[in-house]
């Protein structure tokens, strides 16, 4: 034999799975909600989504170029971050809001800590928290769905009593997403469909979203005075769906052990309910997930699974 044989340690075959495929699946899962956002909020939404995604991808490429690292923008992960960030911004925000957010998400939260897989917080959520703290007016200038951009309040703000005089939207509008709010968090049903797709493709396990949402449902029912209506609005309005399905399941910033994921999801649910019901702030998803993100190394450490054959 004159040619060279490849010698390597087993296994010699690999699954078709790849990082690109996983990230592309997340983008596909987010597409229906993206289209709904564009439908409800028109050109405003298009502007924000494009600005966020382009800024995220360009920032990633630039930083990797500068640091002389391989450019990995074709793994779709920057697209996912940009898209998720855009979902968390109201359609009326000026274009520079998503740009600053994306640059912060990619440069500070992701690349400074070592890039994909090393970020200890969800980049999109951390960026949203930063934007909300820095530009609270622009970040809460909600508009009604439609072309005219009439300002409105979110259902959660109305429910919390901060927007007196506003009418609560109907349940059907709430679930379809025909309500005021951020671009991508309004249509609960489309976000759930995307989530089912991710579970079907094996990208996420339903563990975290189901426990998170169920915890919020149970707690808001009990603590909210045993009102079914109150509970349903708490579950379907605001960022719970997008947070539970797409943000709390972020690989890098959530536990890897099944038991850890349960604790993580429970923690997110409890914090969200407490912030919403007792905090001075109608929405609590972002901060709950971010707080739990920080606890992940600890959770992982104390939830090491029992090894096969080990007596604990």
């Amino acid at each position: 034999m004159d040619n060279r044989l490849i010698v390597s340690s087993s296994p010699h075959i690999r699954a078709d799975e790849s990082v690109n495929r996983i990230m592309r699946d997340v983008v596909i899962a987010l597409l229906p909600a993206t289209l709904a956002g564009v439908y409800f909020f028109r050109i405003g939404a298009v502007k924000i989504i494009l600005a966020a995604v382009i800024a995220a991808v360009v920032t990633e490429a630039l930083i990797q170029k500068i640091c002389k690292k391989p450019v990995t923008i074709n793994d779709w992960s920057a697209v996912v971050t940009g898209l998720l960030l855009a979902f968390n911004i109201p359609a009326s925000a000026p274009w520079w809001i998503p740009v600053i957010g994306s640059v912060f998400a990619i440069a500070i939260v992701k690349q400074v800590f070592g890039g994909l897989g090393h970020n200890f917080m969800n980049p999109a959520l951390a960026a949203r928290a930063m934007l909300l703290a820095s530009w609270p007016v622009q970040m809460t200038a909600w508009v009604k769905p439609g072309a005219d951009a009439v300002s409105t309040a979110t259902p959660l703000a109305i429910l919390g009593g901060e927007a007196a005089g506003e009418q609560l939207p109907s349940l059907a509008d709430l679930i379809i997403g025909n309500i005021g709010g951020c671009i991508g968090e309004t249509s609960a049903i489309l976000l759930i469909i995307g989530g089912i797709y991710l579970v079907y493709r094996g990208v996420i396990t339903p563990r975290v979203p189901i426990i998170y949402i169920a915890t919020v449902a149970v707690l808001t029912f009990i603590l909210g005075g045993f009102s079914i209506q109150f509970m349903i609005y708490q579950v379907f309005a605001g960022g719970l769906m997008i947070g539970a399905i797409y943000m709390a399941t972020d690989y890098a910033s959530s536990p890897v052990t099944p038991k850890g994921q349960v604790i993580f999801a429970l923690g997110c649910g409890i914090l969200t309910s407490i912030i919403r019901l007792y905090g001075g702030y109608p929405e609590g998803v972002s901060y709950s997930i971010l707080l739990m993100n920080v606890a992940v190394p600890l959770i992982d450490k104390y939830t090491s699974p029992r090894v096969f054959g080990e007596v604990k």
């Binding site: 490849i6 010698v7 087993s10 296994p11 010699h12 075959i13 699954a15 890039g115």
Partner: protein, 440 residues
């Protein structure tokens, strides 16, 4: 059928279609064989012949001096040409090279040893030892050692492994179809040796014909139960198989006998039957020669010591340039850098990849997806063990139970970032064990 299984595992494509319907053919008589004096875990044996000696088929040519060691026998009749260290599938080992004379004379020691009924357990054990029988699933652990547990270990069950969970391989499958009686006979002999009255034969459900065939062959024996296993890798891994059949967990750091079980491969049982019935020691085995890099994939009955190159030639040769040659299956087999090496008692398969299939994937950063944790059949966290191993932090890797890794490779298989998980865990294991030896 109620399928048994374990928790974790992966579903690699089976790739068995290429050979699963091909009857086992007898390979061409080799002109020359190189028989390694060490084909198993344990001590090498010492040559009983010298250059120029005439030997016959079945003649013992290497004697085992240590307990964990087995003798080797000539697989051809002819003349000893050389005794030297040579390359074998597991590294450089002393080999006896014999040139065949084509007469195929059988040695006079090869004669029927009697029947299970009138042989004692001790006698059967001696036959197994003298016949040089080792575990034929790949690890080639001496069978007589397995069947001699210390008296304080109470064994109540023997499990025969017919799972053949490695993709591509069909050698055990064909054996179960073509000679199921020998498997049952060998199993009964082993049951007599360790004096147990319960046995399972576990077979993955992607081989329904094999399940059927073994059920028929074991009909008269109530103590033998043929069980269908879920087709999932590594269903044939010893500890996972024991769990699937008995729901017992082999304790961490322990051996199957600590769970009261002895596991043997179906091919090993068949070899035991042959040694008792005909007296022929283990000198040949069924091997699956397959993969896109092989022109005519086949199941061949090959003589131990036949060169891999010659076996491949009998299968139409290579399909273009071979990219990778693997002895065994794709999940746990050993890749070789040459085909000028002899086959051994453990050569269950010769798998040849094309250069495209052989190309190594580019590893990317770990994204902490947790898939390796989900599928690890030993319930480990491969991502952490691997990460600590890569940073030379072997003590931390040990705290994450690196030594409990069964090296099945499921983590590396599933990893979307194509990280060398098992490869780095192996390094950690070796370092930890080496350090333990030093401190002893």
């Amino acid at each position: 059928m109620n399928l048994l299984s374990f928790r974790g595992g992966v579903h690699p494509p089976h790739y068995k279609e290429a050979t699963e319907r091909f009857k086992v053919e007898k390979a061409k008589e080799p002109d020359r064989v190189a028989i390694p004096l060490q084909q198993h875990i344990g001590a090498p044996c010492e040559p009983l012949v010298k250059v120029g000696d005439k030997v016959k088929i079945g003649q013992k040519i290497g004697e085992a001096k240590a307990f964990v060691s087995t003798p080797v026998h000539s697989s051809v009749s002819g003349e000893v040409k050389q005794i030297a260290r040579m390359l074998t599938p597991t590294g450089e080992v002393e080999c006896i090279v014999i040139e065949a004379d084509g007469l195929n004379e059988v040695h006079e020691s090869v004669k029927p040893k009697g029947d299970i009924e009138n042989l004692s357990g001790k006698q059967i054990l001696d036959i197994i030892k003298e016949a040089g029988i080792v575990g034929m699933g790949g690890a080639t652990f001496p069978t007589h050692v397995k069947l001699s547990p210390p008296p304080e270990k109470k064994i109540d069950t023997i499990i025969l492994n017919g799972a053949e969970c490695e993709p591509y391989l069909t050698a055990d499958h064909r054996l179960m179809l073509e000679d199921p009686e020998s498997i049952v006979y060998g199993l009964r002999a082993m049951m007599k040796v360790v004096n147990v009255s319960k046995a399972y034969i576990g077979i993955e459900d992607n081989k329904p014909d094999a399940i059927e065939s073994m059920k028929n062959a074991s009909k008269g024996y109530k103590e033998i139960k043929v069980v269908g296993l879920k087709t999932k890798y590594p269903q044939g891994a010893e500890k996972q198989l024991i769990y699937a059949c008995t729901k017992r967990e082999v304790p961490s750091g322990g051996l199957p006998m600590d769970a009261g079980v002895i596991v043997n491969n179906v091919a090993t049982a068949s070899a035991v039957a042959k040694a008792i019935k005909t007296g022929m020691p283990l000198i040949e085995r069924i091997c699956t020669i397959t993969g896109k890099g092989i022109k005519e994939p086949k199941n061949l009955l090959i003589k131990v010591g036949t060169y891999i190159k010659e076996i491949v030639e009998q299968c139409g040769g290579y399909n273009g340039n071979p990219g990778k040659i693997i002895l065994g299956g794709p999940m746990m087999g050993l890749s070789q850098h040459t085909d000028e090496i002899p086959s051994t008692k453990g050569t269950s398969g010769i798998l040849v990849f094309t250069p495209e299939e052989a190309r190594l994937p580019e590893p990317k950063a770990c994204i902490r997806c947790g898939k390796c944790v989900d599928i690890c059949p030993a319930f480990l966290q491969p991502l952490y063990i691997s990460a600590y191993s890569l940073r030379n932090m072997y003590e931390t890797a040990e705290k994450y139970h690196a030594l409990d890794c069964i090296e099945c490779g499921s983590c590396s298989f599933i990893c979307p970032s194509k990280r060398p998980l098992l490869q780095s865990i192996r390094v950690a294991k070796r370092e930890i064990i080496a350090k333990k030896r030093k401190t002893k």
